[in-house]
């Protein structure tokens, strides 16, 4: 009797699974955006606003402009839970959809796994502000696009800012800087650059790893209390950030000596700590708030019609705005590709890749799109897949983030040779060669 029930249950599941696979392939002339996201797990507080921003921007483009030159945009979300194997499963599930444009894996671990797969499937990867730092070298990494910054540019800007705050880069000599980092590829990426800078300026670099997901930090902060570093760099994500701030409060480490990367500088990180996080600094790639025109457009075209994703008052938060920027860059890449390969057509992954490589978003364009003041202009090329290496620092005043520095640009002089060396090592390991000039035109 149990067995028969089991058989029926299995049959129902199988029937359901087969209907999905058939129904999903029915649509045609639509540009499809696969959205990998994580709304569950220890990183969910940060993953949710990010994913909401991406969805809302697509909905807004459809509602306001009717798509890109008449091509409707569709999307489907796939939950990864920040786990690499689920991310790979999502990628495999969504990559075959018609009109698929590009993937934003939303996690450094998944990015590493997909970097091997993307060239085979000819689908570009966009990793805004994360992923492989050496992938800025577009001649070696044809399919990776770390737009607007990598962990190396972030670390470089933080050291520049700290040097400025200390009264000149030469004042860093003999100082002690601790890196409290998430013990994963995400946290370890900045280390080579920091080591380089520490050799240049003579500061001591103290490495303090925190085991993922980052709720257990007592031992780390005991070390901070012991060695009293002059500055703490926080390379955390999700629940790790607020825990670090609470631990700093408990240890009595001054929060205004703490500097987070841009993934450690959003509302979910500081909200629960509130007053305790006052004075804490973090990098910012974008503004927050509901004033920018694009956010107003989203509110008007999506949320006021009751089609918004997530709560209305979170629209315009730091990570939400970053999600909007990511999706905007995806949409603009498709638009740019259409300029060359035919307006009003659905672009393939290869064509979108060309669009990503030839983006030119100057101030005028950004202003026209409603992104004036939200981000810096960005222009990519075959050699430079990043497009912009600018960021500034913002500080939490207990209630909101305020900008506390001017824009910084990462130091080309230091980054360039490191990226070249890293990319060459990658190519040598894989027995590949650099793209030649002809390939850059394609």
């Amino acid at each position: 009797m149990k067995l028969s029930k089991l058989v029926i249950a299995a049959a129902v599941v199988a029937a359901g699974a087969s209907t999905i696979t058939t129904s999903a392939f029915a649509q045609a002339k639509e540009q499809f955006f696969p959205l990998l996201s994580y709304r569950t797990g220890p990183y969910a507080p940060n993953g949710v606003p990010w994913a909401n921003g991406k969805q809302d921007y697509i909905k807004m483009i459809n509602a306001r402009d009717g798509g890109i030159n008449g091509v409707k945009l569709t999307f489907e979300e796939c939950e990864t839970g920040y786990a690499t194997d689920r991310g790979v499963e999502c990628y495999e599930r969504l990559k075959g959809r018609p009109g698929v444009s590009l993937f934003d894996p939303q996690a450094t671990g998944i990015t590493f796994a997909l970097t091997e797969k993307a060239p085979v499937d000819k689908i570009p990867l966009m990793t805004l502000g994360y992923g492989l730092s050496v992938a800025q070298d577009g001649q070696a990494f044809k399919w990776n696009f770390p737009f607007m910054g990598s962990y190396w540019t972030g670390a470089d800007i933080l050291i520049q800012h700290i040097g400025k705050a200390a009264g000149g880069m030469d004042k860093l000599k003999g100082k002690k800087i601790a890196l409290v980092y998430h013990d994963s590829p995400f946290g370890k990426e900045p280390i080579p650059l920091l080591q380089e800078r520490s050799k240049m300026h003579g500061f001591e670099l103290q490495m303090l790893p925190v085991t993922a997901p980052g709720v257990e930090q007592k031992a780390t902060w005991l070390q901070v209390r012991q060695s009293r570093p002059d500055y703490v760099l926080l390379w955390g994500w999700g629940v790790m950030n607020s825990t670090a701030l609470k631990e700093a409060q408990a240890t009595g480490y001054p929060r205004d000596k703490m500097y987070g990367v841009w993934w450690a500088g959003a509302e979910p990180d500081v909200r629960d700590v509130g007053e305790g996080a006052k004075g804490y600094n973090a990098l910012a790639l974008n503004t927050s708030g509901q004033q920018p025109k694009v956010i107003q457009d989203i509110l008007k075209n999506v949320h006021d019609k009751g089609q918004g994703t997530g709560p209305k008052d979170e629209v315009g938060s730091v990570l939400y705005t970053r999600g909007v920027i990511i999706q905007m860059l995806a949409v603009e890449s498709v638009r740019r590709a259409q300029e060359r390969f035919g307006k009003g057509k659905v672009m393939t992954g290869e064509q979108v890749r060309w669009g990503m490589e030839n983006l030119a978003l100057d101030q005028k364009k950004l202003d026209a799109m409603g992104f004036g003041g939200v981000m810096r202009p960005l222009s990519t090329s075959c050699a430079d897949h990043m497009g912009s290496t600018w960021a500034r620092v913002h500080t939490w005043d207990g209630a909101k983030w305020n900008f506390s520095s001017d824009w910084y640009q990462a130091d080309e002089q230091i980054l360039k040779p490191m990226i070249k060396a890293g990319a060459d090592k990658y190519l040598a390991d894989k027995k590949m060669t650099r793209r030649d000039a002809a390939d850059c035109q394609s």
């Binding site: 067995l3 359901g16 699974a17 129904s23 709304r39 194997d85 599930r93 091997e116 994963s184 590829p185």
Partner: protein, 358 residues
């Protein structure tokens, strides 16, 4: 009626000792293999291969290994993820440090690394038993997590701790397409499963089971506990290590230590318990349940709710997936505590009498 052994007489010991003494079983297995090797590659899509079949085959291999240790020898282990990691990083180091190293020897050497590691962490099993051993093997897990995160040599001095392989080849044939990856893993699984089945049917398997059932009595009848337990650790971690190397090389391509975290140890243990302790087929059932079910639920739920006009959010689906998955595990273990393999053998027993049950 169809599944009856009347008239199948065994006239020699050889005939009586076959793996599948009943003719129908032999036919069924031959058909199953034919389907797996010939029909599936023709029908399955790229997605089915890469997202479902390849992970299933590799995890079935790992579950097989864990089953030898936990199911046959009764040594509960929570260090299976560590053995997978050692296999993966061992194979990786042989693969990148020796130019021209072919894939299969690299996998076997990775498995041998895991064997050594398994014996090392199997030593406590000579003194502690049951749950205490489970906790002791957790040490292996934590040690490997630490080792592959901290010791840069193991990751070939990669800055981020993430490593990758490409240009996989077997006898000059590239292992790039989904079909070739699947067939390669499946062939390995079939070979290992056959070896394992014969191992557990033989003298050494009987020693393991004797140790599992009552180690004092086993020692009294002349079984050396040290030899039996450590050989179970060695064989099990060899298989698990190979599965780890396949998971890293073939399925992920690029991986970080988090791919073999303690969570994978738990999942392997669940696979063995749900699939059926002490049975080779149990590993396959368990792997199917743990690997495939969440993915099917994840895709089935939105469509199912869509039938009633309800749209569920991504978060809602993944929460529901976890809840249903958990509830199913509990339900299964209440209905059939001996796992899916037992359910299967009950079905076979009933089939023998069908359609005239007593």
């Amino acid at each position: 009626m169809l599944y009856r052994e009347n008239g199948q007489f065994k006239t020699s010991y050889r005939a009586d000792q076959q793996i599948f003494p009943i003719a129908q079983d032999r036919i069924a297995i031959a058909l199953l293999l034919a389907v797996a090797f010939l029909v599936v590659p023709m029908l399955a899509s790229d997605y089915i291969f890469r997202a479902i079949l390849i992970p299933f085959v590799i995890m079935a291999l790992a579950a097989l290994g864990v089953n030898i240790l936990v199911g046959y020898c009764g040594q509960i282990s929570l260090g299976s993820g560590a053995f997978m990691a050692v296999g993966a990083y061992g194979a990786y180091n042989f693969f990148v440090r020796f130019p021209g190293m072919p894939l299969i020897p690299a996998l076997i050497l990775g498995g041998l690394c895991a064997t050594f590691f398994g014996i090392l962490f199997g030593l406590p099993s000579l003194r502690v038993k049951g749950l205490y051993l489970a906790v002791a093997t957790l040490a292996a897990q934590f040690f490997s997590d630490w080792m592959f995160l901290r010791i840069k040599w193991f990751t070939n001095n990669s800055d981020s701790g993430s490593v990758s392989v490409n240009n996989l080849q077997v006898f000059g044939l590239p292992i790039e397409s989904a079909t070739s990856k699947y067939l390669f893993c499946l062939a390995l699984l079939v070979v290992v499963a056959l070896l394992a089945k014969n191992l557990v049917r033989g003298a050494i398997g009987r020693e393991w089971m004797a140790i599992r059932d009552m180690d004092v009595a086993a020692a009294v009848i002349g079984i050396r506990p040290m030899y039996a337990k450590l050989s179970a650790f060695a064989v099990s971690s060899f298989i698990v290590g190979m599965a780890g190397a396949l998971w890293a090389f073939v399925h992920l391509g690029a991986w970080e230590p988090a791919a073999f975290s303690v969570e994978i140890s738990f999942r392997l243990l669940f696979m063995v318990i749900i699939g059926g302790l002490g049975s080779i087929s149990g590993g396959f059932f368990g792997a199917a349940f743990i690997v495939v079910l969440p993915i099917v639920l994840n895709q089935f739920l939105p469509a199912f709710m869509g039938l009633f006009g309800i749209e569920v959010s991504t978060a809602g689906v993944s929460h529901a997936e976890l809840m249903i998955f958990g509830a199913l595990i509990v339900w299964f273990l209440i209905v059939e505590p001996h796992g899916l393999a037992k359910l299967w053998s009950t079905a076979k027993q009933k089939l023998r009498l069908w359609p005239f049950p007593h």
